[in-house]
Amino acid sequence: MCGIAGLIHRGKSSNVGSELQGMLQALKHRGEDSTGYALYGDTDGKNFIMRFKVGENVGEGSSSVMEDVSVYDERKKIVDETLTEMGAKIVKEERTLPYSLRYEIDYNVKDLLEFSQRIESIPGVEILSMGKSLEVIKDLGNAKMVCDRYSLDKVVGTHAIGHARMATESGVDIKSAHPFWGYPFSDVSVVHNGQLTNYWNNRRVLENKGMRFMSECDSELIAVYLAEKMRDGATLEEGMKASLTGLDGVFTYFVATKDSLGMAKDTMAAKPLVLYESDDLVAMGSEEIAIRSVLPQEIDTYDPFDGEVKVWQI
């Protein structure tokens, strides 16, 4: 089933970590195999923030295997060496869990694709997000468990999207969890509720065009699809509109960039979405109770129609 939620504050910052946790926890009955956050925090914009994993948290149906912490240590060491070789300086390093790391990097990125390919050429290493404000955090369990594990409740920022997953198309692990980074574009993330039926056809086409897939989760296709459109010069909104016919199946998805938040709904309107919109806040989720967690007072909400695409700026 899965549940998605997102919000954007316009003209101010707020405690988006805590707010998104409340929204996703309200949707936990839609799936708590894994939960993911894409948080756009307040930063000085100088350094890149790279969230990456050097191993998996393995749940039911996953093709991955649990490994010894010493393996993670070895991979981290290779990542550090590779960064040094590329001239990147690690300004700050956090290792929340043995397999999950957060680096602030001082690096004049010439080509993010080349950078990412170098890092991900290290076996078992996956970049979850790369950007000046975006941080993707995802792990097994419900929203509160993941929030507590990664101390996300104090993250201040302008906007965020998140996902409560009930695994159907692929196993329970981090690589299949949402949000997906819009590789190789910095600060682009996607969450999706639904099922894409032309996943393999699209994947083959996109891989032939040099795009990268890290999982077998159909939702990853949306991030890659949009990234390919943007690589070819389309705006985010143009890419999203193209996806209404380019992607087949049922879907409601959110996409966020460093300064915007968008939603798209398939032409069958088969997946739910409730939307609240005011001058200073947009909040949306698979169910109204998600919005109620941040706006308990009586508010006006509505369901976007079939084939609708909307984008808001901070």
């Binding site: 032409t267 069958m268 309107a269 088969a270 739910p272 409730v274 169910e287 109204e288 109770i289 919005i291 109620r292 308990p296 009586e298 508010i299 006006d300 909400t301 509505y302 369901d303 129609f305 079939d306 084939g307």
Partner: protein
Amino acid sequence: MANLKTVTKKSKAQSMGMHTEVLTGRTQQKFFNPDEAENFYYFGTYDVDFNKRTDLDVKDMTAPEANKEIDNLMSQGYGTIVIKNPQGKHSLGVGILNKLNLIFEGSLGYFGMGSCDGPIVRINGRVGWSCAENLMAGKVVIEKNAGSCFGAAIRGGDLICKGSVGARTGIDMKGGTIIIGGDAGAFTGFMMQRGRIIILGDVGINLGDSMYDGTIFVGGEIGSYGSDAVDAELTSSDQDWLKRKLKVAEIGENFDVSKMKKIVAGKKLWNYDNLEPTEKKGAI
């Protein structure tokens, strides 16, 4: 399955556009003979006094707890119940088989007022997916917007949304009336079998797709017609009925019903299984 056939002499219900076919064989009337009404006991109903009124704050209740408390209040004779702080909870007010004035001071989540028979309900807020699913009788009025599958499979009663509704409104409906003050999404009237839908605003793609019978009235633009949905002539009796219905519904009283479009089933899909392959192609 009932034997279906059309007749030239129309019953009152047929004249009103509720349906066009005649059901023969076993019918519900056999089980609900008015002569035996005094022996009839409707499980789960109570004698209530509409002047006996109370408030119920459900802020800290789960949906089952709130619904049980509504039932408890009806058993005490309360005929008017005001629900405070519904806060978008799912499945509130389901399974009420009683005459009752029920007022929600706020919005409901999914499946609100499902499987009800008889209550008069006003929701001073919004409703989520599948509001009033399987409604048998009564009246449900929503002051704001509604989600998808609004009035799915209703058998009777009036279901009114003053705002806009999502996709698949009136899907599989088998009777009753749905009135929408704003716009409606895709697949409105999908597979409807009886009853009427009135939309004062615009409606999305595939209107009345695979509708078996019944009537849809649209005041605004139509995105596209679904399979077997066709235009029909808007008669003077249609217009009279629309005016009365909108007045009773307290919605669009000054709306010019003479410009509304009337959509019915083309009936090419009737007895689809018995069609020749070439005929099936033409029907879709």
